[in-house]
Every structure is written in C-alpha cells, then in structure tokens.
Subunit: 462 residues, 2 copies
Amino acid sequence: MSNTEAVLALLDQNLPAAQARLMDWLRIPSISAQPAHAADCRRAAEWICAELAGMGFTAQLRETAGHPVVVAHHPGPSGATGPHLLFYGHYDVQPPDPLDLWTSPPFEPTLVEGPNGPRVVARGAVDDKGQVVMWLEALRAWHATTGSIPVRCTILVEGEEEIGSPSLDPFLAANAAELKADVAVISDTGMWDINTPALSTRLRGLVYTQINLTCANRDLHSGMYGGLALNPLNLLTRILGGLHDDNGVVQIPGFYEGIVDPSPAQKAEWTALGFNEAQFLGEIGLTRGIGEGNRSALERLWSRPTADLNGVWGGYTGDGSKTVIASQAHAKLSFRLVPGQDPAKVVEGLNAYLTARTPEDAKFEVEVFGASPGIEIPADSPFVQQARAALSEEYGRPAVLIGCGGSIPVVESMRRLLGLDSLLMGFGLTDDQVHSPNEKFDLRCFHQGMRSHARLLGKLAG
Amino acid sequence: MSNTEAVLALLDQNLPAAQARLMDWLRIPSISAQPAHAADCRRAAEWICAELAGMGFTAQLRETAGHPVVVAHHPGPSGATGPHLLFYGHYDVQPPDPLDLWTSPPFEPTLVEGPNGPRVVARGAVDDKGQVVMWLEALRAWHATTGSIPVRCTILVEGEEEIGSPSLDPFLAANAAELKADVAVISDTGMWDINTPALSTRLRGLVYTQINLTCANRDLHSGMYGGLALNPLNLLTRILGGLHDDNGVVQIPGFYEGIVDPSPAQKAEWTALGFNEAQFLGEIGLTRGIGEGNRSALERLWSRPTADLNGVWGGYTGDGSKTVIASQAHAKLSFRLVPGQDPAKVVEGLNAYLTARTPEDAKFEVEVFGASPGIEIPADSPFVQQARAALSEEYGRPAVLIGCGGSIPVVESMRRLLGLDSLLMGFGLTDDQVHSPNEKFDLRCFHQGMRSHARLLGKLAG
C-alpha cells in the first residue's frame, strides 16, 4: 500500500471525527463584520492554530489592525525536495441574517439529508471553514500516516475575508519573505457539479470607477433654464449610453488591447461543459444573454471584459416631482478585465472616452476605487497538471479547467505581493447558499475534497 | 381732469400710506409651508379681507382643506358695461431660511437705498404681497375718487401658492359659477427691466414623468453575471442618451406635432429685446446654450419644448464600490411644452419611444405626475391690447410681450376650470431675490405698478 493509499484509508476511517471537528469550528460565530464577535474571531483563529500545532506546525496568531492572521510553518520531511506550498483560507464568516429564514440555528451545525446524502447546514459550512478543514484533515492524515507533512508547508488563515481583507495586503507585504513559497493552494471556489471536479484557472480583474460630471454652478429651475442650460443628467446618459455599440462591443479606446484569448483547447473544454444558459438566466428572470453575440455564454462570462454601470445618481430622486436641472450627475462604472488587459490603460481609455464626449461647459472627474488585472493560471503549469491529475483520479473523470467571472482579491494579492500563482481547487456547489440563510456543505464534497487534497500532497511529494 | 388722472394723482399723494399698508401686511409671517404659521396665514387673509371690505367689496374668508381663500366681489358702478375682472394673488410667502443671510429680519420690512432708489426688503415684498397691494391701491384710489370700483370685480387671494396650491383647483371647481369673469389679472411675474414693462403672454406647460425600468428579478453580482445579464442602468442610459439627436432635436415620436410657432412679429419683438445670452449663462457658470442651434436663445426658452432629466437613480450610490448589477433603474423625465402640443400625446410618444428601445427582458413603467399644456394669451385680445396700452402710457415706451419658460399653474387652472385667460402684468425685476434671503421690491416698481393697474382699470371701464 502506497503512502497515499494509506492516507486515503485513514481519511475514510476518520470521517466521523473530521466531521465532528468541523462542527466544533462551525459553532464559533466568527463574524468578522460585527465588533461584538471579535472575541469569537480570535477563538476561531486559536482553534485552527491549535489544530496545526498538534500536527507539528509552528503555528502563531499574528496581530493585524483587525482580526488576527494565523501563520504556521512545517518544514516537511527531512531532505524534502518537493515544492513549498502555501495553503490559504479564512476563518471568518458572513453575518447569518436574516435569522428567521434558517431552518436550524446558524451556529448549531446540523446534519440534514439532501439529494446527495447528508449535508452540514451552518454559517461557514462551505465558506470557508468546511473547505479549510478538508486540507487540514488531509495534512492530519499524512502526518498520522508518515509522521510528517509530505512537503514543506506554510499556512495562512485570515479572519477578514468577508469584509474585504483590509489587513491582508499590508500583512503580505510586511511578511513577504516569511511567506515565500512555490504555489498557493486555495479551497474557496466550486466544482462544476457534484460529479465533476474543477480548477478555476481564469479570474476576471476589476477596474472600479466613479464618474462625477458637473455643468452649471448650481441647481437650476427647469422652466427658467430648460432648453438652454446644459443638463448633466442628459449629458451623462448620452455619454454612458454610448459605452457599447449595437453588438455589445465596448467603445472605450484601446479597451480590447492585449487580451489573451483562451486557447482553442480551453474553449473546446468549456463548450463540452454543456452550460445551460437558459437555465442560468431563467433563475434570475431573464431569457437571453447580452453581449458579443459571436461568443458563447461561458466565453462572455469568463474570457471577455465588461463595462457595467453599478450605480447612477443625480438630481431629484424622491417622491413625486421637482422641476430641477441638477448641477451634477454621478455614475459608478466598473470593468471586469480579462488576462492581457492593463488596468491603467483601461482607466486611461475611459478618460479619453469621456474627454471626447464632454463639451466645454461640463467638467468630469474620474475616481478609481480599484484596478486589478485579470488572472490566468497557465494550464500547463506542473501544479495545475498535478492538481488536475489528483482530482481526476479521485472522481474517475477528468477535472475541468473553468473560469470565474468575478475576482478573488487574495489571488491577485498573492501574485502581486508574493509572486505566487494559486491553485483554486474548491469543492462548493452552486446550491450551497453561500452568504445566504441555510448555507450548507454536502458531506460527499467534504469527503472527496479532503481525499483530493491528500492525493495532491502525495503527488507533489513526488 | 379725467377720472384716471385724478386717480393717478391720488396714488402719488398717498404713496407713503400705501407703503405703510404694505409694510403692515409684510409683518405677518404667513409662511404656508410651516404649520406653526397657520394662524399667521389666517391673519394675512383677514388683513386683505378687511382692506377689501373697506372699499365696498363683499369680502369673505372661505375655508379649504388648507389655508383659507379670500373671495371678494364688487358689482362696479351701477349700469357697468365694462368687462368683469378677476384679480388673483396670494398672501402666503416662502420660508425665510437661511436667516443668517438676511441683512434685516425677514418680517421686519426695511427700506434700503438701491441703485434705483429705495426698496422694501422683506419676505413677500414682491412675491406676492407687494404685487397684490399694487392692484389693491389702484382699486382703493378709484373707489376714493369715484365712490365705486370702475368695473365689476372679483378678487381671489389664496394662501397656498408657495406649497403648490393644493386647495386651489378644488376651490375653483366648486365655485366656478361664482368666480365667473371675463379675464383674470395676475401680478406675480416680472418686467423685462426696470424701464421696460412687460406682459407674459406665453407660458410653457409641463409633463412630468417617472420611468421605472426592471431587468433581472434581483440584484446580481457583477462578476458572476457581468457580460451576460442585462443591466438596467446600461439600458437606461442607452435609451435616455438617445432622447436628443446631435442637433438637440427631441426624438420622441410626434413630439413637435401641432406646435404653434410665435408669429414673425412676436419673434421680431423678442429679437429686439437684445437678450444677453452670454450674461444669462455666465451667471450660472456656462458659456453656451444647448438646443436647436437655428433658434435664438429666447425662442428656445419661450417657444420650444424640452426633454430634461430631473433625476436618475439606481444601483449602488454610496461611498466606494459595490460590484452590483441592479435589478431596477429609475429616471424623472419632464417635458416643457409649448402651445399646440398635446400633453397626452407626449406621454403616448414617450411610451412608444420606450417600447421601441426596451428589449424583451426588460419591463418599463411610466408614472405621470402632471400634464399641462403650454399656454398662449392671444396678443390681439382686447384685454392684452388695453393692458399694453396702459403700460406703455405709464412707462412712455412700448410694453413688450414676453414668454416664460416655466409654468404658472394658476393660469392653467383658471383656463381649464373657469375658461378664463389671464393678463400676466407683473412688476418684479430679475434681482428681486424671490424665494431667497433679502427678497426686495423696488418702490419705483411698486409705484409705477399701481399706477399701471389704475390706468388699466380706467381703460377697461371705457
């Protein structure tokens, strides 16, 4: 029996104990957004710190301006030649409100029978405590079986992911040398479906801006001035109404410059997923996708950039009528970026677009609240290959490389501040109710997730 | 000496007493918007009621759902053959805030020397107590001189003009028979300048709408859905950004149908006014007028319709960023209408415009908060001719017929509910600070205004 086989057997045997440990952790209401739960956040950090110390890690709580970060190190077996892994996770959870929609108390984890067998219902079940416990149990089983961790490991578990990770970048920057590794492993994403494991290898980036447009030096009476005075709301809609042409192509100069299209093989893989666009849109009350008609729905979501207004406001917005021509108009406009696009160039293009369309009597200002690039983890990286192999062996079918239309800021931070690519190997399902009442994690996912992590560790140990 | 000459001489002689009476009335803080001043509103109504009773009117306070209306009647001289006039005014005033910007207390009327001689500074000085007192003094002088009022008169002084006249339409409708007359006389507008008297013979109407646009059945994550899900803010700006073409022409179907252009003579009169567009726009921080380039500025303000967004909102409008694709977007869109346009057709055209531009996955709703037509008082009506003659004689130069870009709801109400045209003969100046701190009325305007009203009464008596 190979080490990996022994580890897998131990994981199967200890599944009830692993569940019990997960439930212990889930009972701690580590809600990072609520100051009243600061002590619970610290308890949740201490809990995993103790678990790691128990399997030979040097583990510490490290203070930040907010909730503490857990950092732990294990040198691996003596003479380890495999890569140095950095496992990332977060111990904080979203607030459970609205409480009355929960079928069981959010911090009293409950086993419920579902279509795929039992599931744990609790806040944090899958996001992210359940997914952290998967690799924790994989490490534990390796440690129990071989007396060590099979590769050199650094652990980073933060407590502010649900509030935007305000302390993470400063912490990474200040501890970059200590956190150096060869690749990061993150379990905070999903599978394609319960039978199809997935690695997320493309993430879109984000440029988020606010546009402030000013015309007259004060609000005007629409009777006295209407028809002669420039109206910033009319102008704003005119400018922003031209962001896309009739085919959904964004009109910002240079917007598509540098975009790296997915490979034909990658596109073929996405096509093979048989994405049900009608169902995806039907769930939100829509019937047809917008955007570039010559691109498939998944291509548009995972490999094409967007220009979406997230907010617009100006003038009178109360009940009834007020005959005012406002002095100012505002918009929040964000762009999802794909690999190859330069966020700075997009901001530059936006400024050029606005300049060309703003008459002399109007002034615009662009505030930039964030600018991060799209990310692609190369499909041919050895880490991706080994993770894919581990998943495929566990599930008996090929793991798919999928994209993610959103951004995962920690992935961008680790690339920027630590020079690390991330393996996004997650085991969530689309019906997990993340951030909603009755968040759950299927035990089958939990079990196969820890087995997958154990397999990956075995492969990386070589 | 003709009756009119005797009346004018008496007005000159009694000017100090007339000023003193105006100041008495101005001392009553009849702020209709503030419930604490309800008793003051009633006092202000009683004040003018008593003045009218003193010159032979049967005058009454008439209750409404809000502040009382003053109605008074005088049969005119026995065997009167002249027209039956209805004088309209309002005794209520705007709140005086911000108080710290007043150079004297708003309800302690103060004489201040200005470039055109003394002026009364007080809330209500010109809007509208000062202008009401002008015709009141003209009536008083006629009564004192001839023992009667020279024509049959009805008086209507309301106390809710500054809060949108909520009780006026019901009152007019309920008392239409009693309020029947041949023409209304309203002094609540302005002169062209202190040397040039004016009658406002064109008013724009108003259609005020709110557009509610709905796409998905809930707010969406802009990463997970961006590029595939219809964004109502993108759609709203696209739809409303096309409201005008590059020449400022409104694109609503049928929008310009039926418009009655001012006569060439009227246009020539407007041109002769030498309107200083650069100064008008410069005061509000703009340098050039928008709109139809082949029309003069005054034409655009007084005789062309508009489509102005008064408010737009939707999505996230707080600080910083939220990556949301909203479910709904909203706009307040209003149209200033000119004579000949049918408000109902404009609403119909808007619906057609929206229908043509709203894709299947979006739903729009149009709420209509008001729809009143533009109004023109025919320049060749005998009343306009006589008022113009009265003004021209008083000022020694022709009175001009001007337009007003705004709406005066009472004019529309009287036309609709009483079948009455209005003579808008006002004596305000553009620097009167109406609705602002240090509202004032130049005594020269006050004096020549009452003389003009006296002359008009003489002419109408025949």
